[in-house]
């Protein structure tokens, strides 16, 4: 009978330079971090690089983890910092490019990579359509709006927690989330009465 080790045991082992223990720990939380990264970035390759960068940083900083908070809270803080640094770095990288080029960067193979089933069932087609629409709508938000929305909606963090993590005021976060939702609503559900729209499809499933 295999008894799974607790996070604390794995962290202690990883702090003693045990890579296997760290990989086990990473396997537990990798999907959540990857989900955030994939919705924050514009393509899967960037999301993969960013999420792996997070894990490398976590590995380097694990010695400073003092068990004051839960491991996921600590991990999420590093994730947010890495995302913000990535934003700054990409800003300097892409300073010479036009906005139009930046917005249309969704990998054409990304939806296929994201769905296990390659069948042409209506649900699968809907999921792929939805993915393309939502990711392109998210890409139109500013990075801080996108991050605030993801943390509020996906992670369920309070405005105060987000403000503390992003080093800005609560009001700024609130405005960012509301604007993000407003933009997404304008893009994804412009007319709720449209019969062939995604909204009606969403109601069916």
């Amino acid at each position: 009978m295999i008894v799974s080790e607790s996070d604390s045991d794995l962290i202690r082992r990883a702090q003693a330079e045990d890579i296997d223990a760290f990989c086990l720990l990473a396997e537990r939380y990798a999907r959540r971090i990857h989900l955030l990264a994939s919705h924050y970035c514009r393509n899967l390759q960037d999301a993969e690089d960013l999420s792996q960068e997070v894990w490398l940083k976590v590995y380097q900083a694990l010695g400073s983890f003092r068990f004051d908070s839960s491991f996921y809270t600590w991990l999420r803080r590093i994730t947010i910092n890495t995302f913000l640094n990535h934003r700054r770095a990409s800003f300097f990288r892409r300073q010479g490019q036009t906005t139009a080029v930046q917005l249309v960067q969704i990998d054409s193979e990304t939806p296929e990579k994201f769905f296990e089933s390659q069948s042409s069932s209506p649900e699968n087609i809907y999921n792929k359509l939805l993915f393309e629409n939502v990711v392109s709508a998210l890409a139109e938000l500013t990075p801080s709006q996108r991050l605030s929305f993801l943390l509020r909606h996906y992670e369920g963090m309070s405005y105060e927690e987000i403000a503390s993590a992003m080093n800005c005021s609560t009001g700024t976060v609130k405005k960012g989330v509301w604007r993000a939702i407003g933009k997404l609503r304008a893009r994804l559900a412009p007319d709720t009465e449209e019969p062939e729209g995604l909204t009606s499809l969403a109601n069916e499933y």
């Binding site: 890579i19 990473a26 792996q52 996906y154 709720t192």
Partner: protein, 216 residues
């Protein structure tokens, strides 16, 4: 009083927190209800995406393999750095050899960057000479006594208005008083005056300084 703008903000919050108590905020407003439905549909889409759009298991296998490789690389790089630092600490021997080892890198860089290739001993010698020269220059600059400021005396002529007042004592005969005040000023006759004349020892001089040429 129902305010659609405030209601929209509250509805967004309610949707994010779980959609409880929306009816009170709506207050039978048709526009707000339509807005609520649109917002709810938007958030439903993003929630559905979060639940369904997850890469396949094969993706995760390769993802974890890649992560393990990168972690192993990072671990080895860290261990190598530590070993290198430990070895450097063990090799540390103070003396000329250490000094030479310390200078080797910058000198090599200099030799590489310069057009003229200089042998290392010559380079060291040149560097030492330059260093000693600089040291002496600094020392001399520090030990030089501070010279007092040179004072130049320039004589300047100051115009002084000189006024000379000479008081002369005049004697007159008491027995023959003058008839008028005007006559008293008049110098007496030569016979009377010069017979009893005594030259005075007092000469009163008043010198007024500080006046300008134009002063009157």
């Amino acid at each position: 009083m129902h305010n659609c703008k405030d209601a929209k903000e509250q509805l967004t919050e309610l949707l994010l927190d779980g959609n409880s108590g929306a009816e009170e905020v709506l207050d039978h407003c048709v526009e707000c209800r339509a807005e609520l439905e649109a917002l709810a549909a938007t958030l439903r889409m993003t929630t559905r995406l979060r639940e369904t759009a997850m890469p396949s298991e094969s993706y995760w296998t390769s993802y974890h393999e890649q992560l393990r490789e990168r972690l192993t690389e990072s671990f080895h790089a860290k261990a190598q750095r530590l070993r290198h630092a430990t070895a450097q600490r063990k090799e540390f021997k103070p003396g000329l050899g250490f000094l030479f080892a310390f200078l080797r890198k910058p000198l090599r860089l200099c030799v590489k960057t310069f057009l003229w290739r200089v042998p290392v001993p010559l380079g060291v010698a040149l560097f030492a000479v330059g260093f000693v020269f600089a040291l002496f220059a600094i020392r001399i600059a520090r030990t030089q006594p501070v010279q007092p400021p040179v004072v130049i005396h320039v004589p300047v002529e100051v115009p002084v208005v000189q006024e000379k007042t000479v008081t002369r004592v005049v004697y007159r005969d008491r027995q023959r008083p003058l008839k008028s005040a005007k006559r008293s000023v008049v110098v007496p006759t030569v016979q009377n005056t010069f017979a009893q004349f005594k030259p005075t020892d007092e000469v009163k001089l008043t010198v007024i300084k500080g006046g300008s040429l134009n002063e009157k």
